[in-house]
């Protein structure tokens, strides 16, 4: 049985290598993939596309030799050497350029991951196993069509699961299906604070005295069909609280009212009803994500 498995490995490895070579040589974004890969820190930006294509040529030659007759063990040894090279490259990329793309089997940007290492290790194991083969894969497959196909399918499935580049083709659809069946995100209810803040920011009252506000939202509460939202501000040298009354269940920026209340005395210094102000001459600006609080890339 081990002879059968060993004899089939060249077909599998050859197919993987030819696929990888196709991406490196024929894909229209091959040069971009090379520039995103970890080859850049290794050989320099200028030479990366050349080296990338050279690796593709090597993969194509070894892959073709493996798939086409006759059978010879040095072919499998060459494939093993390539797999060792891949492992070394991945190790280097993981250490030196963890943000770069693997550039392995697909043009999609895929960082080096444990699955990438496992796949290169599996290719190495298959290559070593293939050196034990006594004959070409074609007569072996013809002699054991069922067992041979099952082995090839199982191995191909294992390689696919170890390829992050191919997740889009099978894993994401499966997850989408599960989401459709189980509805894990259903159940949200109520009016988020952000909806009220967006509404008050669209109001004439906010446009009028937004420049007086010094803080983000300090507190908020609900009163009947209104949400009250407070900011700290400064008005004529006094510390004030700007309290906005925003319709809770309706989208009606023109109904937003605001009062400026002196923090020291509790006296109302100013009251503005958006309806009393002139409508803006131009279109209202749309809310833009990320313009609220200071936003920065993930900490740490």
């Amino acid at each position: 049985m081990i002879q059968v498995i060993a004899a089939l490995q060249p077909l599998l490895i050859g197919a993987v290598l030819i696929q990888a070579a196709g991406v490196k040589l024929a894909h229209r974004h091959a040069a971009d993939s090379a520039r995103r890969s970890a080859l850049v820190p290794l050989v320099g930006e200028r030479r990366a596309p050349v080296v990338y294509r050279a690796v593709g040529c090597a993969e194509l030659i070894v892959g073709a030799l493996l798939v086409l007759p006759p059978h010879a063990w040095p072919e499998a040894a060459a494939a093993s050497a390539l797999a060792v090279g891949f492992l070394g490259y991945l190790g280097y990329a993981h250490r030196a350029a963890p943000d770069s793309s693997c550039g392995c089997l697909a043009a999609a940007r895929t960082p080096v991951s444990r699955r990438g290492f496992a796949r290169a290790g599996a290719l190495l194991a298959a290559g070593l196993l293939a050196t034990l083969a006594a004959e070409h894969w074609l007569p072996t497959l013809a002699a054991h069509p069922r067992a041979g196909s099952a082995i090839l399918l199982a191995e191909a499935a294992a390689l696919v699961t170890l390829s992050p580049e191919l997740d889009r083709m099978w894993l994401l659809p499966l997850r989408r299906l599960r989401m459709r069946l189980t509805h894990p995100l259903s159940g949200g209810s109520g009016v988020p604070l952000l909806a009220s803040v967006q509404q008050l920011q669209q109001s004439a009252a906010y446009r009028r005295l937004g420049v007086l506000l010094r803080s983000d939202v300090r507190e908020h509460w609900e009163e009947g069909d209104l949400r009250l939202v407070c900011y700290a501000g400064r008005y004529q040298g006094r510390r004030v609280t700007a309290v906005f009354a925003v319709p809770l269940l309706r989208y009606e920026p023109d109904a937003v009212r605001v009062a400026l209340v002196d923090d020291a005395t509790g006296a109302t210094l100013l009251h503005i009803d958006s309806r009393d102000l002139d409508p803006p001459a131009d279109d209202r600006p749309a809310a833009v994500p990320g313009t609220g609080p200071v936003a920065a890339e993930a900490l740490g």
Binding site: G187, L194, R208, A232, A287, G292, A298
Partner: protein, 200 residues
Amino acid sequence: MDTTMNRRRLLTTAALGGAGIVGATALGSIAPEDAFAAPSLTVEPGAVDPHFVEGRVTSITGTMLLVTSSDSSLHSIRITDGTSIWKLRPTTFDRIAVGDGLYARGVRLPDSTLAAESVWVNIVNVRAHLAAVGRNVLHLEHRGQRIIGHIVPGTTAAVYNNTPAVADLSLLRIGRHVQVIGAWHPDTNEIDIATVYAAA
């Protein structure tokens, strides 16, 4: 508690226009260009903004936060009654813990402490792929790293196609781009999600 209720009642009455207004003229000019003039910028382009601090909280003494910035400089931040504090939602000073990251904006006092007007604790802004979804959890793929985003019922909001925020997250699609504003759990790859922006 009573103080809070009384204060809220006062503010509510004021916002609804039920309170008498102290004559604005008694306080000085009411010309819009004076009362509503934007404060002038005092920072030179390219210079460090003295009214802004980022860093991790290293100690808390009274209402003073000692913060170490990412450039290793130390800053004292004073929290006042007027400071807004955000930690996933508008919250209170006692929710700030040692180890939290923060961004603070305020006024630099002569003794070089920052009197904070706004503090955002552990806030992160992540553009990522939605890789997988669990019960009240979004698994985000961010530059090859996995981020676990917890949905907080009652707080987490979704903004689809720049329309007003809603609480319904069920329109999110696996495999699509999302932008997430959230509160980081310090020293982990987990965040609580405040807002997720997506196309629907």
